[in-house]
Structure formats: structure tokens, C-alpha cells
Symmetry: C2
Subunit: 528 residues, 2 copies
Amino acid sequence: MPDLTPEEFRQLGHAVVDWVAGYRDRVAELPVRSQVPPGWVSRQLPDELPEEPEPLAALLGDVDRVLVPGTTHWQHPSFFGYFPANASLVSLLGELLSGGLGVQGMLWSTSPACTELEQHLLDQLALASGLDERWTFSGGGGGVLQDSASSATLVALLAALNRSSDGRWRDCGVSGAETVYVSPETHSSVAKAARVAGLGTRALRVVDTQPGTQAMSAAALAATIAADVATGRRPVLVCATIGTTGTGAVDPVRAIAPICTQHGAWLHVDAAWAGAAALCPELREPFDGVELADSYCADAHKWLLTAFDASMLWTRHGRALPAALSITPEFLRDAASESGTVVDYRDWHVPLGRRFRALKLWAVLRGLGLRGIREHLRRHVGWAGELAGWVRAEPGFTLATEPSFGLVCLRVATGAGEAADDAASRAVLERINHSGAAMLTHTVIGQRYVIRVAIGSVGTERHHVTALWELLRRTADQVRAAQVAGSPALADSAAEPDQAFLHHSGDQPAVLAEETSDGQPPTAERRR
Amino acid sequence: MPDLTPEEFRQLGHAVVDWVAGYRDRVAELPVRSQVPPGWVSRQLPDELPEEPEPLAALLGDVDRVLVPGTTHWQHPSFFGYFPANASLVSLLGELLSGGLGVQGMLWSTSPACTELEQHLLDQLALASGLDERWTFSGGGGGVLQDSASSATLVALLAALNRSSDGRWRDCGVSGAETVYVSPETHSSVAKAARVAGLGTRALRVVDTQPGTQAMSAAALAATIAADVATGRRPVLVCATIGTTGTGAVDPVRAIAPICTQHGAWLHVDAAWAGAAALCPELREPFDGVELADSYCADAHKWLLTAFDASMLWTRHGRALPAALSITPEFLRDAASESGTVVDYRDWHVPLGRRFRALKLWAVLRGLGLRGIREHLRRHVGWAGELAGWVRAEPGFTLATEPSFGLVCLRVATGAGEAADDAASRAVLERINHSGAAMLTHTVIGQRYVIRVAIGSVGTERHHVTALWELLRRTADQVRAAQVAGSPALADSAAEPDQAFLHHSGDQPAVLAEETSDGQPPTAERRR
């Protein structure tokens, strides 16, 4: 047959496993951020598709020669950018099993195990995360693995639109009166979901934060919703975040929930990054009130050791997603579905087909145990606390916000004013990323440039954090010295061509910047 | 660290590779369809999440004990249901490399190789599939890997909504005047996309087919659109299909395209299953006119040997997707993006994060070469032709439609009328699926029950097709004999409890049934 035989796969599969093991063994020695310019990777690739089969060695050779230099190493232990992407080795075992089985889990009947293992694990993880029985299938709710928190947000919005219209949305679409509520720090995926759902970004309401914080003000939310209701708008969804992308801020879910209830708005809680921490009872305080939400999302592929993609979405309303997304006329539903004993997960998300994603999550849970997972989380939170302490104690730095879980936000202090601190902070980040020794991204708080240190990579050990701190201090010293000397390269790092490129493409975390560069998301409201 | 060390992964990874090799070695001996009732899998699973790590042997033991019996084996060589799900072993090598690298390809800058390899391969595959330069990045178009054709359809619709509104859709949402055109045989994902996009299913127009065929009538499309335009509707998107889910019908793209152009409607061509065949020049005739479309989709994970998920979406309008989906204010775009030399793929789909999917496609292309891939496709098409010939020559069967690529649609002939043929066809399908010897699904053409034989699994050899034909003949003989004897079990196979369950859940291909059971999709038009 035109595929490997199982015996060939055995041989070549071992070689690829060895390649992966070797890569993870040496990844710490590679520059974290890719050093190649645009087009470099493409130029290394063959002009034509191969007509004849090639040996695996040719592929692996090109992976080493082209892809590795063209890769920013998210699995590097000194990757502190964005949020972690925990592609643990133990999860890859489950991923491989999933590929081996190669099933389509769109319906229960197309592979019962694919559906039931997912239901089972999500029920158990809900309870282990402090949610109550109402979030499990047996309690009338349930969970599903989405590809990403963006998709989870979209699905929550669709369920909200359907509920809010008493089901008219399915046939009649949106009315144009719907409104959606976020804070300036809410992830841009809510704006994207509103656009995808046909509401347009003008349906977004950006609710003020509590003064001096990055957390949504419940009072401002109440006032904004009341004003909308007074003008005939229909509040459909409020997105509260536990652990915002910029600074890890926590919206007050317990205070927000009754406002949503009062107005019939769906409360979605986005804990994409921080949600993993709820597995540790002592880290659960910021999750206060989540059980009052309508839906709740936490990514297993960020900080829960599971290779992308595996975003966990739970809802208390187990029928809400199928009610919104099913397109099977009732008379065609099968007996098993009708009996309520099976779930057809295709009605829980936008795509029809679906992989056996639960297997990699199962491999993590069984391979590490809850104890191992909690150790993983606690280490990072502990190191973030240590790093924050060092920053506090160091006159050359300021802590921009209190640390949140594994995230520390800091600025370089120059003693020469906020603008000089901005420039120095940016220069430090650029130099470090350019060096390849570590990878950092930034955010902006109240117009001020802030370096984010997101501790959470699978391979990160305490000594990587201490090394980063030494690097930050050393680089800040260099930058401050250059600033005093009035170095033109510092004032405008674009002066050097290579730096210019790095400045504009590599160091620019556009994903974060778009949401936070002026402290507000890019809504239609603001563009006007 | 709380993960496997690379050395541990080497050991355990080899064991999992061996498990996969062993599974594929023996999958042909397993019953194709899972035999377990609802809840069985769940009941076998541990009540509690493990507190302590468990050895890999425990996981693999449970995979064998619980998951394998709970699995419908899509990789079985006698899986002829739905459409094939080609999780080739060679593609798993690429999948594993992708997991090993563990990158997030949301932006070019977050991993240049992830973006550039995808661009490069999709450019080459466009040309190899008979599309012209305008569908490549260098020609102003470009391709992207989506998770599924459903998502590709949604993205095409969003781009169409944005274009059709001159960009107002981004901020203002849908107007309610938009209309979307499908045939009765179009995949239900278009109805789902219309709902997700906020149009409601009432925006769907179901255009008649050409008499005696399952292909959309271009004349009827022109008339339907004209009527809508006359009443102030705005035709936004027409979905033409090459290889419908039910019978593999081919809509006349060349005749449809000018109608779309005339009315400014976006033409999306869905060749999710059949698209792979365009790599064989001699199979390209049904693709006549695709270069006139605005977007075109073919799934690498159906019949192109690539493990789910990898749906290839191309468009001639390389700026259309970012124009619709980008949420980065222009002033924040980075220099590389602005220069036009890089693509940020997050603006080409709904999710933000993305896996390095191109690697598994690369592994297939290089591991098998175009020659191997074409052999894979040609074998299935050849066997489908043979099977159709056997059906034609056998008085006990009728060919329901001409074979399409690897798909053969047939009915059991009883000589006792259409209703008896329906019952016999259904009974044959149920008996075969129940036996576990092969897996088939059905469709309905003009109220008549039709057995589909979708040839295309990676492991399928000619002898599996001949064995299926023998099984069909033998089972049909038994069913006809029982019919003559007036067996009550045949008249209503639900009489036997186990059969009842199989009848209602296992054999019911709800995905197909929902679109074709009465020859029409479940649109709002029809529900009224």
C-alpha cells in the first residue's frame, strides 16, 4: 500500500521519537527566538514537490537544517513570552496514540470511546478544579475540548445568542440589538467572536476597570448594561477573565454574576491561561464565583502540560450548545441521542470532524498524576513570587503589578522619568530577545511599557529563572549606561538594520499589543 | 521536572510507536464498528483522577481493554463508511515532529518555519492540483490549513460578508438581507456556517438540482438569485460542491461562476473529499472551472493520507481573509507584516493559536512522493469502477448513481418494488455493520435508501473490496430469503433489542441523513 507498513513505521517511528528526545535534550542550547528574516525558510525549501518517495533521513535533515533555525522555541526552558505552550513529552504519548487510532469523534456512534473518555475526564477535571456537580454531565452541564479558547468564546457567544432570543437566532440570525461586554484587558478573541457571529465590533462594550487595577469594575458593568437596556439594546454576553493576557488581572466574577443574571446575559469566564491553577486548592481564591457563570474555559495546552490543541470549555447548561449548533432535524436524531445517554460532540463546536483529543489529556493525568501536575503549577507560582521579591528589592527595577500566578510584570527604573523607563524597558527586552538567551514579551499599562515574564514552560527550572533575573539586571545596567552616554542606538534601536527588523517584527507581540498598547481593545467604539 | 525526561520519552515513545504499529497490524482482525452500548466506556474508567503517576503500561492496558473495544476503527481496511479518514502512518511521523517542536504559529514571528512551510506547500499543492498562479501567494492568492472543511466554509462566508459589504460588516455586522446558495446535496456545514455567522438558516436558498441528477442546476441558481435580488436580498455566497457527501455529485462550477460574478457573490467550491483526486491529471475533469471560484477547499485528512486535522483552503484573494478577520489596528502591524513578505495566519481563521500542521503534510509528500499519493488515489478510483461494474452485472443489485471517484452507491434489488428494495438495502447494511466485517453508511436519493461504499482507507487493498462485494451478495441473498419468508425481524429489525440499538444509533449516519434523507438539507425554508 502507499503508506509505511506497520513494521516500517516501527523503525521510522523510533527514529522520530529519538529526534524529538534529542531536540528536547538540546533545545536549551538553541537561541530561543528564531533568528531568520522573512522568506529565509521558504528559500531553503525545494522548488518542486517530490515525485518519488524520499527516505526519512532527508526529511529529518531538512527539519534540522531549515525548520529548527526557523523556529522560535516555545519549549525552550527560557521561553518566558506570551503564555506557556505546554507540549509536554508525556502528552505526546497520548497524541501519538490518538493518531494511531485515527478516529473521527463527530458522533458518539462514530467512536464511543472518543466521546465518553472526553466526557469522563472533563467531568472529573471540573470537580478537581472546584466546580460543582452542575458543571458535569451527570449534573446537567458538561465539558468539551475545543481547539482554542478563541473557539470556546465563540461557542459561548453562540449559545448566548440562541438563549437570549429564545431560539429565534437559529433561523432568523442576529437582530442587531445585541451587546457584548468586555474590559479593556479582555482577550481580543471576544472582539473576533463578535465579528464572526455577525454582531460587528460595534456590539462590543468596553467596561471600565476598577481604578488602579486591570480588573473590570462591576459597578461600571452594571451602569453600562443599564444604559444599553434603556436604549433598547439586548445584553447577550459578559466575558470575565481570570488571568488577563496582559498582566494576569482577575475580574470580580462573584460581583459580576448577579448583574448578568438580572439582565439575562450569559456570563462566560475566560481562564484560558490561569485555569490550570484551580487544580491547586491554595491557588483557588481568584476563581471565587466561577460556579455562578454560564460557561468557563481553561486551556490544557497553555499551562496544563497538554500539547496544543486542547481548550477545556464547560457549561452548566448541557443542552445549550446542541440547542444552538445542532442542525439535525429532531425526527432524525437517533435513539441513543434521544435517550440522553450519549453526547454528539459535533453539536458542541463549529467543526464537524474531531480528533481524539482526550487521549493526550489522559496521558498527562495518568503519567504525572494530580500530584505531578500540581507540582508543575506550584513551582512556577513560587518562582514568580521569588522573582517579584527580587524585583521589589532591586532599585533598578519596579514591579508594574503584583505577580499573578506565574506572571511577573516589571519595568526598568532609570531615575530619569517614565519615558526613560519606557525606553530602557523596551531596550532591555529587545536586547535579551536578540541575544537568544531568553524570550520575553511586553504589555502596556496606562501608556507605560511593561516587560512580562510568564513562567510556565515545561522545562523551566528555578535556575532558568535566576539566570533570567541576572540577565535582566546585567542588560539593564548596560542599557542605563548607554542611556546616560546618550547612545543613538538606544534612542532608536532601528538605526541598526538587523535590530530594526527585530524591533518591528520579532519583539512586537502584536497579539498582546493589539489589546493593551493603549490599555483598550480595538473596538469600533474606539476607532471612531 | 514534572514531565518525562527526554531519555524516558525515548523509551516510552518507542513503546507507544510499537503499540501503534501493532494496532495497525491487527486492526483488520477487529470488528470495524464498535460493539459497545452507551455508557460502557465510561463505566470502565476509574472513578477518580489518579493522585500519583502511573506507568505507561497501565495506560496502554486501558487503551486495549477499554478504548479499542469502544472504537469504531476508521483505519480498518474494510471501513467504507462516510468518507475515509486517512491517518496514514507516514503522516504520523510529521505529527510527532510537530508535537516535538511544540510551536504556536499564530504570527509569522512566533515561528517563521510554521508559517512559511505551510505557505510553500499550499502554493505547490495548488499548482499540482491544477489551480493557476493566482491561487498562490506569489500570485496574490494563497492557502491555509484549517481544522476542517466546516471551518473553511465559515471563513469563506466571513470573507464574502466582508467583501459584499465593502468592509462594513467588520464593525456593523450582518444586515439581514444576505443570502447564501446551496443545493439539496450541499454539506450541512454551510447551513451551520450561516447560523454561526448570524444570518440564520433562513438566509439559505436551496437551489434545485438538474433533473435526474444530484448536481446543482445553474439555471435554477440564476433564477433564484434573480428573484432574491428583485426583492432586495444580497447574494453573498454560493457553495458549489465537487463530490457531494451523499453520492459524490459534481456541481457545474464553470456554469455557476459567471452567475456569481454577475451578482457579486463569492463562489466557494467545496471539494473536501474529492479534492485530493485533482492531483491526478486524468481525474481532473470534474474540477472544470474551479479556477473561476473565489475560494476552494480540499481536505488532506480525508483522502490525502494526512492525519486529521488538515483541511486545505485556498483563495484567489490573499487579502480577503485578513481583511475580514484581522483585529490588529493598522498602526500596530509590524514591519514584516506591512512589507507584504510575511503572513500572520491567525488572520486566516477563527482560532488564534495554531499547530504546525504543515509538517504532517510534508511528511506525506516526501515520504510517498506524488507518485505514491497518485497510486493511492488511482487504486481506489479503479476499484470503485470495478465494483460498479460488478453491481451493474448482478441482477440482485442496482447502481443508484454512476460511481464518483472512489464512491459507489448501490441498492439491493428484490424484484418486489422500491419499498421492498429500501427495506432489503437497509437490512443488508445493518447486517453487515452488525457483523463487524465491514462498515458502510447510507444516503437517500429521491426518497430511496441507498448504500454507499466509500473506498479510500489507507489500508484498503483490492481483496477487501472483493470481500465486501461477496459479503454484499451473500447478505443480500439472506435478506431476500428472509423477506420472502416474511420474517418479522426483517420488516422491523428493531424487534431484536440489540439490533434495535444498532439500528437507531450505530447504523444511522445522522451526518449524512440530515442532509439527504429526503434529498434536501434541513433549511429553515423546508422546516416551515
